[in-house]
Symmetry: C2
DNA sequence: AATATTTGTTTGGATAACCTAACTTTGAAA
DNA sequence: TTTCAAAGTTAGGTTATCCAAACAAATATT
């Protein structure tokens, strides 16, 4: 039994929107899904039927829409991809919040499991490794602005790093 | 005059394939494009007409296909996105070569200019900053394997970093 | 040159998404 | 309870891709 049937980008977006609406409003309605995805309500119905047939949502006409357990699991995976990508773009690469969100929304359909896992690990490494962390990220911002390394600054930075105590043995 | 008309992912793929073929074989032929994109030759013709009408390729039936200057410029941008993403995935995140290539091929259609620029800058920063660089990346590989930081190793790593001479003033 | 093979194009058909506009159902106010 | 506005669905149309298979052109072989 496959947990992740091959879904189109479009259907993935629907699932994600439904999960979001379930969280904020308890239920998902056609109108709200349409608004969130910026499409017309008429287009939503067809997608809901498709998701219903795949067993990912409980759909019966004129009724509220809920995710099935399988649908929820997939929706959460998509949401997870989105959050990871957005975090990387916004918090690490310092991409503007709205742009990061929009780009994550497209990239979430493109990334594969291995890359995702490595990305999660990488972000964690940057944040926990004593050679990097927050202050290092601040230097990245500077590097971006000045479009290159600055020998003077690099020396000062290294000196400061050396002045910090080593972790306990 | 817009340099980048909105192209579908599909048409972007065609342009990229044509650029590739121009480089390796001087000229792009329908058959080779079809092979590279894993679609049937019959489907290629339609796409070529579309690209021809947009002024991105020189297309006349039964003749060789070449990129127009505008088409070439766009194709190079796409190629650039691809290369940047693949490099990040493969060389930084240490994702398997084939997977990195396939994922870059999908993500290249999703990334926006700001994120791309920041990503380029970020990779450059990692490679030029004395606090990171190649040896730091090796530690990332280790961090991935062990799924977390190791206090012992971190201390040793910091000590080694300190033993290196500071850059000249 | 005549024929065979390869390459390229056309045609007809399928599917996925979307839209607009008409129609149906639901549920709340009069 | 009747009525009516909001929400949801259906029907018909468009566009973008793709395929299969028939057909046409170009090239290679004999």
């Amino acid at each position: 039994m496959k947990t992740s049937p091959d879904l189109s980008e479009s259907l993935e977006d629907y699932l994600e929107a439904i999960l979001d609406l379930e969280r904020t409003s308890k239920v998902a309605r056609t109108k709200d899904i349409a608004e969130k995805l910026a499409i017309k309500p008429g287009s939503v119905t067809g997608a809901l039927k498709a998701l219903g047939e795949k067993g990912l949502i409980n759909y019966s006409p004129y009724n509220f829409i809920t995710l099935t357990p399988q649908g929820k699991k997939i929706a959460q995976e998509i949401r997870n991809r989105h959050k990871t990508l957005k975090h990387f773009l916004h918090k690490i690469l310092q991409v503007d919040d709205a742009t990061a969100d929009a780009t994550a929304c497209r990239m979430e359909h493109a990334i594969d499991p291995e890359s995702l896992e490595k990305l999660v690990c990488f972000v964690d490494f940057i944040q926990t490794c004593p050679r990097t962390g927050e202050d290092w990220l601040a230097h990245f911002t500077e590097h971006c602005r000045s479009k290159g390394p600055d020998a003077e600054q690099c020396r000062a930075c290294l000196e400061e790093l050396r002045s910090k105590p080593l972790p306990e043995k």
